[in-house]
């Protein structure tokens, strides 16, 4: 073992004030570094996913549907055009979920990395925001890639369609923040994953007006859509990409719903992280 | 002497270019407690896995209960109780269920196993935890459960790979006590360890291994007698001075060992030697007189300490 320098008293290396203001960014940097190990896989999935879905469901099934509904179209457009904005929002939600739930479990349970972070000047709030920022970053490039694929498939019909990118990320952020708070409280993850996958993610994906207009569902199932961030983002996305009819009031409703979810999610995850670390 | 339960000659195991076990010979007799002492990577666990009939040797011969593990693996395993280095309990099951199903893996009848489980719970002092999920047990409890599990088939040979590594001192002593009782009942124990106190406590006879080879063999007492002096004087002069005084110390006793943080002096009478050190005007920061241990044997044989 070689000798290292541990100078005593002569200088203070750590600037606690700087960490206080930028801690979340340090956490995000560490997380992004982690992410970079799998970046090609993540990017591969981020591109393959829309391509596969758009070809299989959008074009394959869409071809049959377009023939079946005739000139009326689905919501007035081709099925592919109708489907694409929903998948865009779904991609953002899936991306942020992966990037909040797994790191949170890893940090608290699997590798306990949050505890070692917390033994530096970093706080629980900063760790939670750092994880969230990373998820946002992932949602961003996933959605941008998705949008490019959509555009190449000719599923973009409006000059302001690109605005669907931020609305999709918004939905992802809201859902991700909430999931992060949930994951922060988790003790037994085995059941959680099954419940999350089959009782939350799947119903949201299936019943948020993703593959067909929400109104074509029986009324007693439509509520799933109303509480689903996916539906809110999909409505906004359809409005922006092909001019799907949404009243100004409803635009506000969509934004406020997602906004409340985001703020609540961030607030609770910061609190839950802080509490659990101090336990 | 009777025929050995386990007998190995020229036992060798290679993983590619790496030789984990290098032509070792040993015999284990019924009812004895036999140890493999050596640092991590000495080849102890590999030797254990070959005996456990879950790893095939590269060359040499080995017979366990008169059978060749290469040919009669399952039949040999039917008579062994294996406690691996890493606990591999069934996390989805409770304490009782772990014991029960493991007995079933041996093909034992349900009724027998159910009875046996009660005995084992008492033996492992886990009666209060009988319905607990394994996940929620402490390290010491898990270890005791793994040992109890290995006993479910009333094996002729109990094999323990590093039984107390990672346990706190209290948990270790409880475990040693349990193992000692088994020994009293005549169970043949096979133990690997890198703790010399464990080897001294539990083993009638042991082999000291390093880098795949056997360095020495015998009972703890004879090994110490053969390879070390009666007492050891440990001196610390501070990390920068140890080396400087070593030459002077060397002339004062039979043998010395310089370690990074201290100097060990081998002698028949530690107190007397310490007085001579002071008389020579050398003033160590701390000093300690103790009896020789297997650690000193290993140091003598390899020039290295057991735990690095």
């Amino acid at each position: 073992m070689s000798i290292i320098n541990i100078r005593q008293g002569s200088l203070v290396l750590v600037d606690a004030a700087k960490v206080q203001s930028r801690g979340a960014i340090y956490v995000a940097q560490a997380r992004i570094r982690q992410m970079m190990k799998w970046i090609w896989m993540i990017l591969g999935i981020a591109i393959a996913n829309p391509v596969l879905y758009l070809i299989s469901v959008g074009i394959g099934l869409g071809g049959l549907i377009d023939k079946s509904v005739g000139s009326a179209g689905v919501d007035g457009v081709k099925y592919l055009t109708f489907l694409a904005p929903a998948l865009l929002a779904q991609a953002a939600i899936q991306g942020t979920m992966d990037e909040t739930v797994f790191p949170t479990l890893e940090g608290f349970k699997w590798h306990k990395t949050f505890y070692s972070m917390n033994s530096t000047p970093l706080t629980g709030t900063q760790i939670s925001y750092g994880v969230f920022l990373t998820a946002l970053f992932r949602a961003f490039y996933t959605v941008v890639l998705y949008f490019i694929v959509m555009w190449l498939f000719g599923a973009v019909n409006s000059p302001r369609a690109w605005l669907a990118i931020p609305t999709a990320i918004f939905a992802g952020a809201s859902f991700g923040a909430l999931m992060q708070a949930l994951a922060g409280r988790l003790e037994d993850e085995n059941i959680f994953f099954v419940v999350l996958g089959r009782f939350v993610m799947m119903p949201l994906f299936m019943f948020s007006g993703t593959f067909f207009p929400l109104t074509s569902m029986p009324f007693f199932l439509q509520w799933i859509g109303w509480i689903s961030p996916l539906w809110h983002a999909t409505e906004l996305g359809r409005h922006l990409t092909y001019g799907h009819e949404v009243s100004p009031t409803m635009v506000w409703v969509h934004f406020i719903f997602l906004g409340i979810m985001l703020v609540a999610g961030l607030f609770f995850s910061a609190r839950i992280f802080t509490k659990r670390l101090a336990k | 002497m009777s025929t050995p339960l386990i007998s190995a000659r020229g036992l060798t195991k290679k993983f590619g270019d790496f030789t984990a076990v290098n032509g070792i010979d040993f015999d284990v007799y019924k009812g004895e407690s036999f140890g493999f002492l050596g640092p991590n990577g000495a080849g102890k666990s590999t030797a254990m896995r070959i005996i456990g009939a879950t790893s095939q040797r590269t060359s040499g011969t080995i017979s366990i209960l008169g059978k060749d593990p290469e040919i009669n693996g399952p039949q040999i395993r039917a008579h062994l109780g294996v406690v691996p280095q890493q606990d591999n309990l069934d996390m989805q099951l409770s304490v009782t269920e772990n014991l029960y199903i493991y007995g079933r893996y041996f093909g034992l009848p349900r009724k027998f196993v159910k009875q046996k489980v009660e005995e084992l719970l008492a033996f492992a002092q886990l009666e209060e935890k009988r319905d607990a999920k394994v996940e929620n047990l402490s390290g010491g409890m898990k270890r005791r459960l793994t040992i109890a599990r290995a006993l479910v088939s009333e094996p002729e040979i109990l094999m323990l790979d590093e039984p107390t590594t990672g346990l706190d001192p209290q948990a270790r002593h409880i475990l040693w006590d349990r193992l000692f009782r088994l020994k009293e009942q005549g169970v043949t124990l096979l133990i690997t360890t890198h703790f010399m106190d464990e080897a001294e406590q539990l083993c009638d006879r042991l082999i000291v291994m390093d880098k795949g080879s056997i360095m020495a063999e015998g009972s703890p007492a004879t090994l110490i007698k053969d390879y070390s002096s009666k007492e050891v004087l440990e001196l610390r002069f501070g990390s920068d001075r140890n080396q400087a005084v070593a030459d002077q110390l060397r002339s004062m006793c039979e043998r010395i060992e310089e370690l990074p943080d201290r100097v060990l002096m081998y002698t028949e009478d530690g107190e007397e030697l310490l007085e001579r050190v002071y008389a020579a005007n050398l003033h160590p920061k701390t000093s300690l007189v103790r009896r020789s241990s297997l650690e000193d044997v290993f140091l003598r044989l390899t020039g290295r300490t057991l735990i690095e």
Partner: protein, 271 residues
């Protein structure tokens, strides 16, 4: 002192890999199942039902009927058999990949099992056996949902249940074989990456005849498309020799999967 242990298959063929203790492993599965959460059990059944509700009802409004083999049937009746086949696949894959991976590398349960007188083939068969029991129950439950809805057109549809078990067996043995070669959790992702396109392109939601020739050819090589054709053929009563061919495909999968699983477990634990 040692209890005489029945060396059930001592001296018989293959005694080093198989000791005839599959039942004991199923017993383990049952004990673990008893204490598992019912949510997990229910959720496996829920998956195809949700798909049926969403696609059968929702897409069914946009696309009420579909033509197969010169016959026009309700869209829901078209997808229901495919969902049965897909859920048999998903259940088997989950049980034989994620589950097995954790037992193998994380909990190291197989190390313990193989330190007894059991062999690797016992472990493989026991593990897969449990997946099959589960697959069988889910298939029955799904049938109970779709039959009253009139989505099983023919009485041959009853055979869809054993067909689902066969499909699960094939996927489980291959899944376990693949998993036994995996070193990291991330590699398991590869399985998911293969499953998604297979699911999307194997003709669950529409006939693959809408694809260009070359793509149809590729899809016809995939196991899921054989699974779907088999179950759909039975449910719609379209009985022909092709169905035997589909079944044979899974028999081959079973044999190949078991062979490699045993081989690999042997190499892992008996090296």
């Amino acid at each position: 002192m040692a209890v005489a242990i029945a060396d059930a298959r001592a001296g018989k063929r293959g005694e080093r890999v198989y000791s005839g203790r599959v039942l004991q492993l199923l017993e383990r599965g049952y004990i673990a199942f008893k204490s598992s959460t019912y949510m997990i059990v229910i959720s496996g059944f829920l998956e195809p039902v949700l798909y049926l509700l969403s696609f059968g009802y929702g897409i069914g409004k946009l696309l009420p009927t579909i033509a197969v083999g010169g016959e026009t049937i309700k869209y829901a009746a078209f997808i229901a058999p495919a969902l049965l086949a897909t859920s048999a696949m998903n259940g088997a894959i989950y049980d034989s990949t994620m589950n097995v991976f954790f037992k193998l590398n994380h909990d190291r349960i197989y190390h313990g099992m193989l330190a007894t007188s059991m062999g690797p083939l016992d472990v493989a068969l026991g593990e897969i056996g449990w997946a099959l029991i589960r697959g069988f129950s889910y298939a029955c439950a799904f049938m109970v949902v779709i039959a009253p809805l009139g989505l099983v057109v023919s009485a041959w549809g009853l055979l869809a249940i054993p067909a689902a078990v066969l499909i699960a067996f094939g996927f489980a043995s291959c899944g376990m074989a693949v998993t036994s070669y995996m070193k990291s959790f991330q590699q398991l992702e590869i399985v998911n990456m293969i499953l998604l396109p297979m699911f999307l392109f194997s003709g669950s939601f529409y006939p693959i005849t809408v694809f260009p020739q070359w793509l149809q050819f590729v899809v016809n090589l995939l196991p899921l498309s054989h699974a779907i054709d088999l179950v759909r053929g039975l449910c719609l009563g379209h009985i022909n020799f092709g169905l035997a061919g589909h079944a044979l495909y899974f028999v081959v999968m079973i044999v190949v999967g078991l062979f490699f699983t045993t081989k690999r477990l042997n190499a892992l634990f008996m090296k």
